[in-house]
C-alpha cells in the first residue's frame, strides 16, 4: 500500500464482492487493493467478464454490500459521493435536454443560478470540443459526440476523481483514438485524477500513468505496470518501440486471462447443455 493514505486521492482496500447465482456462489471481485494518486491517470484492464464493471459500480457507490473499503483522500466513503464522478459505458445523455442543459445538470442540482451555470456549462462544452453545439439535442449528434457530452457533464461537477467505465467501447476505432487524445488533453489540463476501466490495450497504454491488469473471474489484481512514456503521448510516442513493448508486456498477462475466460465460458455452456 505504501504511502500514507492522506496523500492518495483514491484508496481501494481489499474489495471483494460475492453474490449468489443459480450455479452457486460467485466471486466477482476478490480482494483487490490499489490506489490512485492526485492527478494520476490509472487504467484497469481485464478480459470481458472479469468483474471490472462490478468494481466500477462499487467504487462509484452504486453497489453496496461488499467487503473492503473505499476511501477518498483518506476518508472512507460508502454509497455515491460527490468526490467521484462517473461516466458510463452506455448512452447516458438525457435525450430531452440540449447539450448545454445536459452539461449544466450537476450545476443545476447544486443550485447555481441560471446565467452562471449556463456559462460554466458552455466552458465545459468547449473543453470537450463541442463549441457551438450547445443548443443541439443529443439525437442530432453522433455517438462519439454524445459521449463527449456525458464526459463534459461529469467534469462540470468538478469531481475529485473521474471514474470511467469503457466510455469508448461503443465507438469505432478512429473516433475512439481521437476521443482518447481529447480526454488525455483535458486530463492533463485539469490535472484530473482519473480511473479508467477498459479492455483496450492501446488505449490503456496511451492514456495511463499506470495500468492495473485484472484476472478473469474472480477478479484479482494480477499486475501493475508503470508506463514510463513521455507526455504528451502523441502519434510519435504511440508508434515508438517502447510503446509496443508495454503493449506486448500487458498482452502477455491479458492473453492468459482472456483465454481462461473463453475456456470457462465454453465449459459452462457445455455443462448447461449436459444438464438438460
Amino acid at each position: 500500500m505504501g504511502a500514507a493514505s492522506g496523500t492518495r486521492s483514491l484508496d481501494v482496500e481489499h474489495i471483494s464482492k460475492r453474490y449468489a447465482s443459480a450455479g452457486g456462489p460467485v466471486t466477482a471481485v476478490d480482494d483487490m487493493s490499489f490506489d490512485v494518486g492526485p492527478g494520476e491517470f490509472v487504467s484497469i484492464i481485464g478480459p470481458s467478464g472479469c468483474g471490472k464493471s462490478t468494481l466500477f459500480n462499487i467504487i462509484g457507490g452504486l453497489i453496496g454490500d461488499y467487503e473492503g473499503r473505499v476511501a477518498v483522500a483518506g476518508a472512507t466513503i460508502s454509497g455515491t459521493h460527490p468526490a467521484i464522478g462517473m461516466v458510463f459505458q452506455e448512452e447516458s445523455t438525457f435525450p430531452w435536454r440540449t447539450v448545454v442543459d445536459n452539461v449544466a445538470f450537476p450545476l443545476e442540482l447544486s443550485g447555481v443560478p441560471k446565467r452562471e451555470r449556463l456559462e460554466r456549462a458552455e466552458s465545459f462544452v468547449s473543453l470537450v470540443g463541442l463549441h457551438g453545439f450547445g443548443h443541439r439535442y443529443p439525437a442530432e449528434l453522433s455517438g462519439g459526440m454524445r459521449q463527449r457530452v456525458a464526459i463534459a457533464r461529469t467534469l462540470a461537477s468538478e469531481p475529485r476523481i473521474l471514474l470511467m467505465d469503457e466510455p469508448f467501447a461503443a465507438l469505432d476505432e478512429q473516433t475512439r483514438l481521437l476521443l482518447g487524445d481529447k480526454v488525455l488533453q483535458i486530463q492533463q489540463q485539469l490535472r484530473q485524477t482519473t480511473l479508467l476501466i477498459t479492455h483496450n490495450l492501446t488505449e490503456a497504454v496511451q492514456l495511463s500513468d499506470r495500468v492495473l491488469v485484472m484476472t478473469y473471474r474472480p477478479g484479482r489484481l494480477k499486475r501493475v505496470v508503470s508506463i514510463e512514456l513521455p507526455r504528451p503521448r502523441d502519434s510519435e510516442v504511440v508508434s515508438s518501440a517502447a510503446f509496443g513493448r508495454y503493449v506486448a508486456e500487458i498482452w502477455q498477462d491479458l492473453r492468459e486471462e482472456a483465454t481462461r475466460g473463453i475456456q470457462e465460458d465454453e465449459s459452462r455452456v457445455l455443462q448447461r447443455g449436459r444438464g438438460k
Binding site: N57, L62, I63, G64
Partner: protein, 266 residues
C-alpha cells in the same frame, strides 16, 4: 443488477388486494347506509348480492343472454371473416394497401353507434341491426390486425409455399393463417371487445330482447340492484372472454400479451 430489486411475494400481493377490496366494500356499505345519495342508487352489497343470485336463477336472464351471445357470435363471425379476408388482401398487395388501408385505419377510431339509425332502416329493429352494429364495430380492428399480420410474415415461408406450388386457397389456409395466428387472435380479442360494446349499446337503444334491453329495463323501472347485478355479470363475462383469448394468444408465443390498449376502434 445495480439496483436492488425487491420481488413482492405473492402473499403480500394477495393481502394488499384483499385489503383494497375490503376498504372499497366498507366505503360502499357506509355510503349505502348513510343515505347521502338518493336511496337505492347505492344499494348495500347484500342487496346487490341477492340480486345477482336472483338474476342467475332467472330463466329469462339466460334467454336474453343467449340472444345477446348469439348476436355477438354472429357479428364476430361475419366481421371476423370479412376483416381477415380484407386484411389478407391488403397485407399481401402493397398497392391495395396504399390505396385503401388508410381508409380503414382512419375509419376505425370513430363512434360507430351513430350509424345505428341507418342500420335499423337497413336491417330492421330485430337482431339484424344489432348484429350489423357488431359487425361494423369489429371489422376494423380485425382487418387492421390481419393486414399487419400479413406483412410481418417471414417472406421465406411464403416462398416455401410457392415453391411447392400451393394454390391460393392452400396458401391462405396452410401458410398465411398459421403464420398470422398471434396478430389475428389479438385482433379478434380487440374485435370481441368492441363487438360486445356495439351490440349491447344497440340493444340498450332499441330492442326488446338481450342483455342490453334488460339493463335499460332495469333503468326505466329503477330497479338498481338488478342493474348492478346485470352489469356485474356482464363485466365478468366480458373480462373473462378477453382473458381467455389472451390465454389463447399466449399459447401461440412465449411472451405474455398485454391487454387491449392498442389503437382504439369502436
Amino acid at each position: 443488477m445495480r439496483r436492488r430489486s425487491g420481488t413482492s411475494s405473492w402473499r403480500a400481493v394477495a393481502l394488499l388486494r384483499i385489503a383494497i377490496i375490503a376498504t372499497v366494500a366498507l366505503a360502499w356499505e357506509m355510503l349505502a347506509a348513510s343515505g347521502l345519495l338518493f336511496r337505492d342508487v347505492v344499494p348495500s352489497l347484500g342487496v346487490i348480492g341477492s340480486a345477482v343470485v336472483r338474476l342467475l336463477a332467472d330463466e329469462g336472464f339466460y334467454r336474453n343472454l343467449l340472444i345477446t351471445v348469439g348476436e355477438i357470435a354472429a357479428a364476430l363471425a361475419i366481421g371476423g371473416l370479412a376483416g381477415v379476408g380484407v386484411g389478407i388482401l391488403l397485407g399481401a398487395n402493397r398497392f391495395l394497401s396504399r390505396a385503401y388501408e388508410s381508409l380503414i385505419y382512419y375509419l376505425g377510431p370513430t363512434p360507430k353507434i351513430i350509424f345505428f339509425p341507418v342500420l335499423i332502416m337497413w336491417f330492421g329493429v330485430g337482431s339484424g341491426s344489432k348484429i350489423a352494429m357488431g359487425v361494423l364495430s369489429c371489422f376494423f380492428p380485425i382487418a387492421i390486425s390481419a393486414a399487419g399480420g400479413m406483412r410481418q410474415i417471414d417472406p421465406t415461408l411464403i416462398r416455401v409455399g410457392q415453391s411447392f406450388r400451393a394454390s391460393i386457397g392452400q396458401m391462405i389456409v396452410k401458410v398465411y393463417l398459421p403464420a398470422m395466428r398471434e396478430p389475428i387472435v389479438n385482433g379478434v380479442r380487440l374485435g370481441l371487445g368492441v363487438a360486445i360494446i356495439g351490440t349491447l349499446l344497440a340493444e340498450t337503444k332499441l330492442s326488446n330482447r338481450g342483455i342490453g334491453y334488460l339493463i335499460i329495463q332495469a333503468y326505466s323501472t329503477f330497479d338498481m340492484p338488478r342493474m348492478y347485478a346485470l352489469l356485474i355479470v356482464l363485466f365478468t363475462l366480458a373480462i373473462g372472454a378477453n382473458a381467455m383469448l389472451g390465454g389463447l394468444a399466449r399459447t401461440s408465443s412465449a411472451a405474455p400479451v398485454p391487454a387491449a390498449t392498442g389503437m382504439p376502434v369502436q
